[in-house]
């Protein structure tokens, strides 16, 4: 039986197209699913936005649901200052969501189970948010590392803790998504292996497999939501400090 980790391997599907900084770039299985996520989500949302009917149809209602969902998330967590970042947060959510969901398809590939992808996204958010904070508040931004009203003598302990906590944000953000997706797919693969290996008694792990698939679908939705809302919270910290 193949290792349950084999599904995460990045495979080149074409010859290298070009080279960037000594790295050959080819179309990979991961890239195909990223492109599929882009095509599917933008196709769906463009179709939903298309008519702009007063009484929405199904697809339009769904597109508007996504829109309102993220708009409310930003309004509740960031406030009116977050409006400028709405397209970015929305894209982040849709990209992560479709990546997670497409991974649930049989023979699918989950690009959000790649630490390279999640960490890069988290780093972009982290650096972007830090720069926004510095740009908006200047040196006052560093008051983020010392809770307002704490006794001054606690500073030597609190500041390093807050600093480490702040710096570990991109790690916790990216590992949360990557680990959830990876573990889920490993679990599905292992259970699927049992179904085949146990023959007729494979029905038992099959039932579990169906239940876990439902659970993983929930995790896929939930993790996209958590990733996005944490980005909103970080953005809020940068815009409004504590």
């Amino acid at each position: 039986m193949a290792s349950p980790l084999e599904q995460f391997a990045i495979q080149d599907l074409t010859a290298p197209l070009f080279t960037i900084g000594g790295h050959h770039i080819a179309v990979t299985n991961s890239a195909i699913f990223m492109m599929s996520a882009v095509v599917l989500s933008s196709g769906l949302l463009l179709a939903g936005a298309g008519k702009g009917a007063m009484i929405p149809g199904r697809i339009q209602a769904m597109a508007e649901l996504f829109y309102e969902f993220i708009a409310n998330m930003i309004r509740d967590n960031v406030g009116s200052a977050g409006k400028k970042f709405f397209p970015f947060i929305f894209t982040l959510f849709i990209f992560t969501l479709f990546g997670n969901i497409l991974g649930m398809l049989p023979y699918g590939y989950t690009f959000t189970s790649q630490i390279a992808v999640t960490f890069f996204m988290a780093m972009v958010v982290f650096l972007g948010v830090t720069l926004i904070g510095l740009f908006k508040h200047g040196l006052h931004f560093f008051s983020l590392f010392f809770p307002h009203g704490a006794p001054l003598f606690t500073a030597p302990i609190l500041i390093p803790i807050e600093l480490v906590s702040y710096l570990s944000r991109p790690i916790s953000l990216s590992v949360r998504l990557f680990a959830n997706m990876t573990v889920g797919h490993v679990l599905l693969k292992v259970l699927a292996g049992f179904v085949v290996a146990l023959g007729i008694f494979g029905v038992v792990p099959l039932v579990v497999l169906v239940a876990i698939t439902a659970l993983e679908l929930l995790v896929a939705l939930l993790q996209a939501y958590i990733f996005t809302i944490l980005c909103c919270i970080y953005l809020n910290d940068a815009l409004h400090l504590h």
């Binding site: 990045i10 463009l46 829109y67 690009f111």
Partner: protein, 189 residues
């Protein structure tokens, strides 16, 4: 918060060591040589999606939602206006109705007063006329009665004379009339 921060820092410290362990265990995610390709496609795909969302999808959906909200607000305003107008018309109608009712009741009162006055005048006239007639009739009856009573005396005398004649007697007519008079007076209640 600091407790959670501490927990996260410990997790972060553990994670720094993790890639090496995981790589040894054969997790393809930690194959650093495959990072550039993924990041390249991630940037390309994310940029395309961002462009599509920011330029095409979101403004359109936002405009649709906004125009719907405007339409709903306008409809609500129109409904409110219509409601106000209906309420005002109702108040107006109530006022007109009250007025008309007042007018009608005063008309009725006037008419009934006039009718009552007319009736009482007529009644008065009739009763006066009747009173006159009754008085005349009573007078006539009284006269007739007196006449009759006067006639009755002479008639009684004649009858008494005739009866005496039949019996073979006679009497002085003046004496007879006096006797009849006395009998009539005695017979009176």
């Amino acid at each position: 918060m600091p407790v959670q921060a501490l927990r996260i820092s410990v997790a972060a410290a553990a994670l720094i060591g993790l890639p090496f362990a995981a790589q040894a265990a054969g997790m393809p995610q930690f194959d650093l040589t495959r990072f550039p390709t993924q990041i390249f496609w991630l940037v390309v795909c994310f940029a395309v999606l961002y462009f599509l969302m920011a330029k095409a999808v979101l403004p359109k959906i936002g405009a649709t939602i906004e125009s719907r909200e405007h339409k709903i607000q306008a409809d609500l305003d129109a409904a409110q206006k219509a409601n106000d107008a209906a309420r005002a018309a109702g108040v107006e109608q109530d006022k007109a109705l009250t007025e008309a009712r007042g007018q009608a009741s005063s008309l009725i009162r006037e008419a009934s007063e006039a009718a009552a006055a007319q009736t009482s005048a007529k009644l008065h006239e009739v009763s006066e006329r009747l009173g006159g007639e009754i008085a005349a009739a009573e007078k006539r009856i009284g006269e007739q009665r007196t006449q009759t009573l006067a006639g009755l005396g002479s008639m009684s005398t004649e009858i008494a004379t005739a009866v005496l004649g039949k019996l073979g007697g006679s009497a002085d007519p003046a004496q007879l009339a006096r006797a009849v008079d006395e009998a009539a007076k005695a017979g009176k209640p």
